[in-house]
């Protein structure tokens, strides 16, 4: 029995990747949940909004790289991120003006808005593929590891290494900063309070003189920022490929629903629930079990519950269970 090595292996293969992935999902789910809270529909275009923001960032990063501008050990993409956010804000405001505004004025049923957002999804998807192509794009640079497996082993003398990628560190730190800023904005500023009031009770908010168009616009701006940051972090951590962002929709929605649609705190919790279950279920536990169990009991198989091809199924099953048992989510969401 070798508990120390088991813990390090667990940290290395499960906790660190799941923390990074969970932060990305949480940021994505926050965007979905804000749109749901304020505009009252499930935005299917969110994944592709993320892809669009990330794409602008990738293009600007390449420009900076060609100029020789860099942030030293940090990826250049962080420098390009504000431009990506601006580009994405322009895009969502344009789609809102050209597409969603009409249906809002009509007070269309939410399901119509969902269909419309599906149309937007495909236009954005086409646009992204048109501009940058459907292939994998690499834009990460700078230092690869905060701490690599080998240095960790040399430092501690343990058998197992603990590697933390720079992108993973940046993801978690950025997510914490962004979430803190968002909650400060929602709870402390006048505009943030007016947004929460609008989300809680539209009619009362209108009566007290809140301008709905302004609330909607600010929501879109925040969502564009969140989506771009989530998209860039995911792209840095894995790689940028337009189609994967469409596939991220399911885990993102699952996160938002598990936490309770319309509840920002729930979106964050949901993101981590989904990420940890996904990584935990698809991880082969053989190594960890080998350290913890006595030798005679050491397993022969991989003890992998599900192959990684089915990681989508994990978020789906969690989604189904939540819908069956508690449709409002872990934290009280808006309504069923």
């Amino acid at each position: 029995m070798d508990l120390l090595n088991a813990i390090v292996a667990l940290l290395n293969f499960v906790v660190v990747p799941a923390m990074a992935y969970g932060s990305q999902l949480a940021l994505g789910a926050l965007g979905v949940t804000l749109i749901y809270g304020i505009l009252r529909f499930s935005n299917f275009a969110h994944g592709d909004t993320m892809a669009f923001g990330a794409m602008v960032t990738v293009l600007v990063t390449w420009l900076f790289q060609s100029w020789g501008v860099s942030l030293g050990p940090l990826p250049t993409a962080l420098l390009a991120l504000p431009f990506g956010i601006l580009g994405c804000m322009g895009l969502v405001l344009a789609t809102d003006r050209m597409v969603y505004k009409f249906y809002r004025a009509q007070k269309a049923k939410p399901v119509i808005l969902v269909i419309v957002s599906l149309g937007v999804t495909f236009i954005l998807n086409g646009l992204v593929r048109f501009i940058i192509g459907p292939d994998d794009q690499n834009f990460a640079d700078g230092e690869r590891f905060i701490i690599s497996a080998r240095t960790f082993k040399e430092m501690t003398g343990l058998e197992e290494g603990l590697a933390v990628k720079t992108t993973q560190g940046i993801t978690v730190v950025t997510a914490v900063v962004v979430v803190a800023l968002l909650f400060w904005f929602l709870n402390r500023t006048r505009t943030g309070k007016s947004m929460r009031a609008y989300s809680d009770n539209e009619d009362l908010a209108l009566l007290s003189g809140i301008n709905p168009e302004r609330v909607v616009m600010i929501t879109w701006l925040i969502v564009a920022g969140l989506a771009t940051i989530a998209g860039v972090l995911y792209g840095l951590d894995k790689s940028f490929k337009p189609f994967t962002y469409f596939q991220l929709l399911l885990p993102i929605f699952a996160s938002a629903i598990v936490g309770g649609l319309g509840n920002p705190l729930g979106a964050i919790a949901g993101g981590f629930v989904i990420a940890f279950s996904e990584v935990g279920v698809t991880y082969a536990w053989k190594k960890v079990a080998g350290y913890v169990l006595p030798e005679s009991l050491a397993p022969d198989g991989l003890i992998q519950l599900l192959s990684t091809d089915y990681k989508l199924a994990v978020s789906f099953v969690i989604l189904l269970i939540v819908l069956l048992i508690k449709p409002t989510g872990l934290f009280q969401g808006k309504s069923i």
Partner: protein
């Protein structure tokens, strides 16, 4: 102009467009468009049942279509006897254990008293059952997949006539739809959309990865046909003689003959389903569905069980998509799980229904033909457009190469744009609901 005349004119226009393809390109192409148009029309009919009749938003059409395709393999292909003796029993036993575990979990969850004891029992049953299932299932799957993996490596089908696969495809899709509907219906409408999005992705993942079932990405080829093979026709002296009578060479004649037979079969299915859908639309049941769609609260107050009716129509519509999926795999003669794309099999069908006219069966059928025709023609048109736009640029410039290469993605843009424009400016579609 009265409705009947207008509708006939619309169908005539689409027919002429397809015929024009036949004259200018080739009749083989035209019949290919026609056959896929027939299948698309059936899918659109199924979606129209869900959206047009009941206002249910299904984003998982791709999954139900793929299940239909699986049925074509499971019914039509010859069984792999060697694989069956190697691990067939084990696979079936494993699946049975899995199903029994879930059933027991649900039973206990419903029967026992609420509290910690119940939750723990259910958890233990589920986890224990899962490991038992894996212990039985995994070795059998490995044994099955080891049997001649280059050619078979899967259990094969039942070796029955492939036409039987069409209703079976419908049944499979209906089963999946029932599970989804049972959980997601009765909640907010968005939840159904998200749940169907998920099930579609998962069905495709299963088809891609469960090699014992569908050979995964190795594809199943040579699914038997309900119609004769071209080569047999060409070797049949009577057929060659008849072809010569029409002044055609036997090769062209045989390909056309096969495609026409398919077209007749598909048209028969379409007509039966269309007749049934029309009867349903004009029956008390259809009126009830539309009443529920238009005002759920009022319908519920009138004593209608909204959730149960939604489940009913959701299962029926998905079953029709499953039938169409089985027909498509029969026409292709192969199951290729890698080719199922949400754009092609979910989104395109939605565009068909909305452009054709949601709530109107004839509209859905028209949309099926029209949008399929456009879908086939948009890519060459996009390429042509790009060539015109870039004709001013110097040959070999990077921008020109990029634009021409990107023409393939024009389909996504065009279809998205068509959907948004129709929804905005003509939400009732070409043939509006009466």
């Amino acid at each position: 102009m009265n409705t009947a005349l207008k509708n006939t004119a619309l169908f005539a226009v689409v027919g002429l467009m397809i015929a024009y393809t036949g004259v200018t390109q080739s009749w083989n192409t035209a019949l290919l468009v026609m056959n896929m148009g027939l299948i698309s029309a059936i899918m659109a009919l199924g979606v129209n049942l869900q959206w047009g009749f009941a206002g249910l938003f299904n984003v998982g059409i791709m999954g139900f279509v793929a299940l239909g395709g699986l049925a074509a393999v499971l019914v039509g292909m010859e069984p792999t006897t060697e694989a069956w003796s190697a691990g067939g029993a084990g696979v079936l036993a494993g699946l049975a254990i899995g199903a029994a575990t879930i059933a027991l979990g649900i039973y206990l969850g419903g029967r026992m008293r609420k509290g910690l004891v119940r939750n723990l029992t259910v958890l233990v049953v589920l986890i224990g059952g899962f490991f038992l299932y894996r212990a039985v299932f995994d070795p059998s799957v490995a044994a099955v997949e080891a049997v001649n993996p280059a050619l078979t490596g899967y259990l094969g089908g039942l070796g029955l006539p492939v036409i039987l696969a069409w209703p079976v495809g419908g049944l499979l899709a209906a089963g999946a739809a029932w599970i989804i509907g049972k959980t997601a219906l009765g909640l907010r409408s968005d939840y159904l959309a998200i749940a169907t999005l998920g099930i579609a992705e998962i069905i495709i993942a299963v088809l891609k990865n469960e090699d014992w079932l569908s050979r995964g990405v190795k594809n199943v080829v040579g699914v038997p046909r309900p119609v004769p093979y071209e080569i047999d026709l060409q070797n049949d002296p009577a057929f060659v003689e008849r072809a010569a009578g029409f002044g055609m060479d036997p090769i062209t004649a045989s390909t056309l003959y096969v495609k026409i037979e398919y077209a007749l079969l598909f048209a028969a299915v379409l007509l039966i389903l269309l007749w049934m859908a029309q009867r349903a639309l004009n029956s008390p049941w259809g009126r009830m569905m539309r009443a529920i769609r238009d005002n759920e609260v009022a319908a519920e107050a009138m004593g209608k069980d909204v959730t149960a009716r939604h489940l009913q129509v959701f299962v029926l519509g998905s079953a029709i998509c499953g039938i169409a999926g089985a027909m498509m795999t029969t026409l292709d003669g192969q199951l290729t799980p890698g080719t199922y794309q949400p754009l092609r099999f979910t989104f395109l069908i939605w565009v068909m229904v909305i452009v054709g006219g949601s709530g109107n069966n004839l509209g859905a059928v028209l949309g099926g033909f029209l949008i399929w025709f456009l879908w086939v023609q948009v890519e060459p048109m996009g390429l042509w457009l790009m060539q015109v736009i870039t004709s001013g640029l110097a040959d070999g410039s990077a921008l020109k190469a990029h634009l021409i290469e990107s023409a393939a993605h024009m389909r996504l843009l065009t279809m998205g744009l068509v959907l948004l424009l129709v929804l905005r400016f003509s939400p009732r579609g070409l043939i509006p609901e009466r």
